[in-house]
């Protein structure tokens, strides 16, 4: 019995995208709490391990490598800036570059000059923290299909979600028609024609006009097809009901705006801050709820929130909670001192906390193959 439950638990399937987002955001929040390079590198190792173990074999998952490169660039920039704009804070001067004198109006900015180990280290820690957070976001994109996340939007936002999905699929098509038209232009002699500016305008026009005509044609056809297939069937909503939901949503959103402004600006009366914010949120949510109930639309194979989703989300949130808790207990090791140069130390509680984040690599079901059954696997069974 228990064994059967375990087998079901580990059947390959794609987790709810929100679970992966909760996990990565937890790790990103944890990274924002510390500059300890050992902890940050552990977080990176955890993220990379889980991504390698659980990313699907799909095009969007391949983008994770780009985020790793972006992280490396961020660190290099942070450290490089300390060389260029001077980093002389601290006693241990590593090199003295010739300083470039700047005019008086640029007082406060220094170009080159002495560079201290402390400031370089500061740049490295800082850059590493930012890079870790960016890579965490990349991991979310690799693990969860971004389009499925749009599909999981509440019913009231369904139409907006569809519009975004359609817009996203337009870009590859546009690129394709630009290529095709540019190629076709060569057939008409391409480079010949007028000279200078006039020629450039002609060239631009020869490419843009057919591409735009093509795009317009496509969108009209798409609109006709969506209409014919029932997009935007309103069902039976009375004008009165529409008015109520509309005004609920707008009032709510205005309340939220006022609340946020008051919270950030200390000089406004306090009763405008938290109370208005909360009330606005509640009213807006009620509006969404009503609008959603009006929608008579169903969802094909929606992502469900089951036990593995809970485990994944909890492990991410757990990491964040542990780092928040330890920062009040043991702040020095989370943010190593930059005034006295020393090896950053690592204590057990935060390290174990970060290691919680690796659980999804073992406790979540593997992803499904994006293109159905893998032919090679089927053949193996047959043989």
């Amino acid at each position: 019995m228990r064994r059967a439950a375990l087998t079901t638990y580990f059947l390959p399937r794609d987790l709810h995208p929100a679970a992966w987002w909760a996990w990565t955001l937890g790790l990103a929040v944890a990274a924002s709490r510390t500059t300890n390079p050992w902890l940050l590198l552990t977080i990176l190792a955890v993220v990379c391990h889980v991504v390698v173990a659980r990313r699907p074999d799909a095009p969007w998952a391949a983008a994770f490598r780009i985020y790793l490169w972006l992280g490396a660039v961020i660190v290099a920039f942070r450290v490089g800036f300390r060389f260029v704009f001077g980093g002389a804070e601290g006693q241990t001067i590593l090199v003295r570059l010739p300083e470039i004198p700047l005019p008086a109006w640029a007082a406060g900015i220094r170009l080159f000059g002495a560079v201290s180990a402390e400031s370089l280290l500061g740049g490295l820690y800082d850059g590493l923290r930012l890079a870790t957070m960016v890579i965490c976001l990349g991991a979310a994109n690799a693990l969860a299909n971004p389009k499925r996340l749009l599909k999981a939007l509440p019913p009231a936002l369904y139409e907006v979600g569809t519009a975004v999905i359609v817009a996203l699929s337009v870009f590859p098509q546009l690129a394709e028609s630009v290529q095709r038209v540019a190629r076709a232009r060569r057939l008409r002699g391409g480079a010949s024609g007028g000279r200078g500016r006039r020629r450039r305008v002609r060239v631009l026009r020869a490419v843009i006009v057919p591409v735009l005509e093509d795009a317009l044609d496509r969108s009209l056809k798409l609109a006709a097809s969506m209409d014919a297939r029932g997009y935007g069937r309103s069902g039976a909503a009375s004008p009165g009901a529409r008015f109520v939901t509309g005004s609920l949503m707008i009032t709510g959103l205005i309340g939220v705006c006022v609340g946020v402004y008051a919270t950030l600006d200390g000089s406004t009366p306090r009763f405008l801050a938290t109370p208005v914010l909360v009330a606005g949120l509640l009213v807006a949510l009620a509006g969404f709820r009503l609008a959603g109930r009006r929608v008579r639309r169903s969802r094909y194979r929606p992502d469900r929130w089951r036990l593995p989703e809970l485990v994944v989300a909890a492990s991410g949130v757990g990491v964040a909670v542990v780092l928040f808790a330890t920062s009040s207990v043991d702040p020095t090791n989370l943010n190593p001192s930059l005034t006295h140069l020393s090896w950053p130390l690592l204590s057990w509680p935060p390290l174990l906390g970060v290691l919680l984040g690796v659980l999804p690599a073992f406790l979540s079901p593997p992803p499904e193959h994006p293109y159905g059954a893998v032919p090679a696997a089927a053949e193996k069974v047959a043989a």
């Binding site: 389009k147 569809t162 999905i165 359609v166 699929s169 590859p172 095709r180 038209v181 190629r183 076709a184 232009r185 060569r186 057939l187 008409r188 002699g189 391409g190 480079a191 010949s192 024609g193 026009r205 020869a206 006009v209 057919p210 005509e213 044609d217 496509r218 056809k221 798409l222 609109a223 006709a224 097809s225 969506m226 209409d227 014919a228 297939r229 029932g230 997009y231 935007g232 069937r233 069902g235 008579r296 639309r297 169903s298 969802r299 094909y300 194979r301 929606p302 193959h369 994006p370 293109y371 159905g372």
Partner: protein, 534 residues
């Protein structure tokens, strides 16, 4: 199931109605073929069924159109999603989601069906259309035939009472078209679906159509069984024309019917037509060892080809067999990794774009990409300027190819055939000795194809070498002297049209299937008939 009651439709800016006082009823389980020239109102008739005409297109519709008792003027098209499933010409343009499975579910999601029902219907439809192995594939990566089947599946899942298809195979190669039409035949025979279908390739649908609506273009509709209607139409599939020529009654609609009656005709025929042999003259274009590759995929694998002046060569082969890549490589604008092309002692690939098009002119598959100005006259003037020809050269050419096109019209408002003529005139302005046409028959009706065949004959008559890449067997049979078949980037057969086409089960035109190898077209048969029978 579908009722048209005294329907008249006109666009606001045109005086003549597209449909005039049309009344007809389509019963349950009927397959109705809608035929007629481009612009005769086929799409209008089909669009009126679910209200896209006039709700989406504008214009004025008089009378009533009703599906399953619901009149289209009472509700917008989206409220007909569960009654009429509409499939267009270009499946890719109508897809909303990006995988097959989600696309099948989309219509049902809009109707708010229960999840278990949706799940069951998606599985059933995947099996019905034979696309179960494609369920998770991205729609963009499918072949044309697979895309069209997915599009049909996506409207079938809502269990519509009628299925409306507007030229579903006009953008497909013959194998893919065969796939789609076989699927439709199965839906009609096994499920008794009510289908309204517009189709250029009548010959493929006529055998299983119950009824035919022919739109002559004056707003009226000729309604009857295919055999009755086809007796009087000006355009007909070759098999019907052969039947008319031989005086068969009733007219045969399938190769099988015709073949069983062909004995006496075959005996009455004189010797088969003599076709010109390969010329002794030196080739105009000589290509050796052409290689085209895109990364790891090889599109053209070391092809040698000679083109002779005054001859027409047809290039055939399935989609992706390297036809287009070879044409672009010969012209010099496309990529070419190996081999040499010689025209007039020069290689167009080494020359600038302007000099290359004076040697080899190419009309690409989407010919409209070459046009970017607002009027036909402006396009012609630009063409004269581009090829440094005397002003008026392009316009003269255009008038020879397609007389009577108003210079003030926008190129986009021209019919498919007229636009093709305009692009061809633009390319001919540079006076190239070699003319390459990539899929010129796409979207052309029988009349436009006959006009194109005339144009190709003229070009060859002027001593140019013409190459046509196409899937259209009947067109090849009328125009080509020589046929080359490509597969996987290699030439697999090359010879006289009668030899290559006649002997192949895939490429044989209908007349050859009925009468045997040397007979390719109805014109051949007519020429060989003794006076008395004629």
């Amino acid at each position: 199931m579908i009722e048209f009651d005294r329907v008249t439709f006109r666009y606001h800016d045109r005086p003549d109605p597209v449909l005039a006082d049309v009344s007809l009823t389509v019963g349950e389980g009927e397959l109705v073929l809608v035929a007629g020239r481009t612009g005769a109102g086929k799409s209008t008739l089909l669009g009126a069924v679910n209200g896209l005409v006039p709700h989406f297109t504008g214009g004025h519709l008089g009378g009533t159109v009703a599906v399953a008792g619901v009149a289209t003027h009472t509700r917008p098209p989206r409220e007909f999603a569960h009654l009429a499933g509409v499939v267009g010409q270009d499946p890719l343009a109508g897809f909303v989601t990006d995988t097959v499975e989600e696309e099948l579910a989309y219509g049902m999601e809009q109707l708010g069906l229960a999840p278990q029902v949706m799940r069951r219907r998606v599985e059933e439809t995947l099996d019905l259309l034979g696309i179960a192995d494609l369920r998770r594939r991205a729609l963009r990566t499918l072949s044309g035939g697979q895309q069209q089947r997915a599009a049909i599946g996506s409207v079938l899942t809502t269990h519509p009472r009628v299925l409306v298809l507007d030229e579903p195979t006009s953008a497909l190669d013959p194998t893919a078209a065969e796939d789609v039409l076989a699927t439709l035949a199965r839906l009609v025979h096994d499920l008794g679906a009510t289908v309204l279908l517009a189709e250029h390739r009548m010959e493929r649908v006529v055998p299983f159509a119950d009824r035919m609506l022919y739109l002559p273009g004056d707003g009226s509709v000729v309604d009857g069984t295919p055999a009755e209607v086809l007796r009087g139409t000006p355009v007909a599939p070759p098999i019907v024309e052969l039947g008319r020529l031989a005086g068969w009654e009733p007219l045969p609609l399938s190769v099988r019917d015709a073949r069983r009656r062909a004995g006496p005709l075959r005996a009455a025929l004189g010797p088969p037509p003599a076709r010109p042999d390969a010329p002794a003259a030196a080739p105009v274009l000589r290509a050796e060892g052409i290689v085209v590759r895109y990364g790891p995929t090889v599109a053209v694998r070391g092809v040698d080809l000679d083109l002779h002046g005054g001859r027409t060569l047809a290039m055939m082969g399935r989609n992706g067999s390297g036809k287009s890549s070879l044409l672009w490589a010969l012209q010099g604008s496309g990529p070419r990794q190996g081999g040499a092309v010689r025209v007039d002692g020069r290689d167009p690939g080494d020359l600038g774009a302007g000099a290359a098009r004076a040697l080899v002119g190419l009309v690409p598959q989407s010919a409209a990409d070459l046009l970017y100005l607002e009027t036909v006259a402006a396009e012609c003037a630009a063409a004269d300027h581009e090829s440094a020809a005397a002003p008026g050269t392009c316009r003269t050419l255009l008038d020879r190819l397609a007389p009577g096109i108003d210079g003030d019209r926008h190129p986009r408002d021209l019919s498919e055939g007229q636009r093709l003529s305009l692009v061809l005139a633009v390319q001919l302005t540079a006076a190239p000795p070699v003319v390459l046409l990539d899929e010129p028959t796409r979207g052309l009706d029988y009349t436009a194809k006959a006009a194109l065949a005339g144009i190709v004959g003229t070009l060859a008559g002027e001593g140019r070498a013409v190459v046509i890449a196409t899937h259209d067997v009947e067109f090849v049979a009328t125009v080509a002297d020589r046929v080359v078949v490509l597969a996987e980037g290699e030439i697999v057969s090359d010879g006289r049209a009668a030899d290559v086409l006649g002997g192949s089960p895939a490429f044989a035109p209908q007349v050859a299937k009925v009468l045997g190898e040397p007979w390719l077209t109805v014109a051949d048969v007519r020429a060989a008939l003794p006076e008395a029978v004629r």
